[in-house]
Symmetry: D3
Subunit: 137 residues, 6 copies
């Protein structure tokens, strides 16, 4: 019987963003989002960790080929997010606030369609070394 | 339906401590706690990670405002523990050995009363880069 | 009633390895394992984190003595793997591909016999800062 | 005779920026600055290390009070740069390309007027973990 | 002709300390040293980097054997400072304030007598990730 | 007048190696190189930092284009060293012991011919987080 294990692959991207809810007043946006509400944007070095859980394949010793996983992340996430303005350049955030939670969920939704259904997927996303999110919980 | 995610906030404090059980003999304390039993104390740079799990709020994109979380940690934990002698300056450790497990539990108990009941709470506490604890398991 | 918590201890070892399945053709090994298939071996600085979960003992404040845990890891894992060629010097990998998943499982099997049965055990093994595995899932 | 030593203080800020030279054609800007030329900006978590060299004061054991140094950095650099768009929000970069070299020089010029003339000053600025600059050389 | 290079060896120790100058009034000590003046001590995980500069020996390819350097640091520095109260347990700080500058100078003085005179020596000492010192400048 | 600054670019490679001097007896090799003398090789994750010092170009704000520097390092160093056995696969170490000092000197010699003569070059090479070298001193 195969063993169940998880593998993790870390990639990164650099992006600008702004936190803002157009349904809020300016005062409410300033109060809720503080410095992150700057209309001229600010930015981060995002560290992205993708966790894949499944059975270790006896012939390779892999849960999943980490090189293939890296290629999928780069093609479908990094190329779309790196050196971009998340609010202006990424369609998903035209109408959704690019908080670290929402970006993690968006990356999950992108990768979920690319990863074998038999494998579990989790996203860990660092906005800074001190603020990060995990999805699903 | 809202998505369930976790956010993490990292803070730190520097403190002195000594591991000792007054119910043990001197020899037993020396044997069990080794160098950590030095009666003159030693110390650490503690890295504290607080994990909050709950639903992502649709209007903010937050599980919880990380700035508010940081303020709570600083007000109720860091101000009480930073640049302190845990055995002498923190009431909770007058009669409880300040192991990394016990400090993590104490921080949990402090923050549990300050964080919305609908949110799950977990504490990860690094005593050194190589020794750390998580509570609850 | 005792609290349930986890403690973590980090150790490291440096080793050479090669990924290869003798049942595959040379072409298949090259395609599946890429640069990791180099017959002359390559190597890594492995960071090993051992996680132990159990009840905090009231008299010590320990789930398990981290010094004792460190001694067990060094005696039964580090001494066997450090500055070794995993394929040639470690019996377990004579007939098993030393992927990060397989090495984590082997370390689990070694330590499981040395750690009190009442304590849960998990292995987190970093092959590089960007590739790591966890067992059991 | 007092000993000469250096102290270092690390702070950080998050900012958006764009690399562009208005004297270049669009093609030249794209060729020279690549992805960093995105007109919608991208961003980074900047890690700033300030190095101060001078004599250790016999009465304090300090080259300079690190708390005072931190306060100066925060007041004159972090408050001006953090959560800002360097091109739009910081006057110095209205007509100067905000490369990591230029930002380091600007921070040096700001702090040089605030630090005692008897102390040497050096700036180390990380744009990412893998790209950083030091000024003066 | 041999090449001149530097090697670095990192070790660590955990210690308690207090900053205080008995020649100052209580008010002056509180003002100058702030939280670091706590009479009950606080503590740190110190990271120590020893830099040795000299000619690369043609027969070994070493400036100096890093294992031998590590042994010297452990025997003469770590064993004396680790899990100690610097003010109470280390003779050098009975009458000298254990600032990060003074500790670096003390470590230099200890190691200078143990390292071959033909090799240059420099000490880099981290009190926290954000505060560190280098001696000599 | 242009300002003089340094830029740094970090890359990495994973390799196997063995420390041995064929002019030494087996006993002497074992004594001098210890565990690093294992005839079956061991390995490391090498972190390579290349430091370039020169004048900041007024039109770009660059000492040197970091992307171009990265390309040179990858083409002439990483492609030659990554996932290789340094003793067997890299001609320079057929007759030279691959200590961290010698590898740093070899990388310097490779890159010195590729980098503009007006720019100073320095190599910092981490064999492990705790052992590293710098050349030239």
């Amino acid at each position: 019987m195969a063993h169940k294990a998880s593998i993790f692959r870390k990639e990164h991207f650099n992006a600008a963003h702004r936190l803002n809810n157009p349904a809020f007043s300016d005062e409410e946006n300033a109060r809720v989002f503080g410095k992150c509400n700057n209309p001229n944007y600010h930015g981060h070095n995002y560290d992205l960790i993708v966790k894949i859980t499944g059975h270790v394949q006896p012939d390779t010793g892999y849960v999943m080929d980490a090189k293939l996983l890296s290629d999928l992340i780069r093609k479908f996430v990094i190329d779309a997010f790196d050196h971009k303005n998340l609010n202006l350049d990424v369609a998903a955030f035209k109408n959704k606030n690019p908080t670290v939670e929402h970006i993690a969920i968006e990356i999950y939704d992108i990768l979920r369609t690319k990863i074998n259904e038999g494998l579990d997927l989790k996203i860990i996303l660092y906005e800074t070394e001190r603020n990060y999110a995990e999805y699903p919980a």
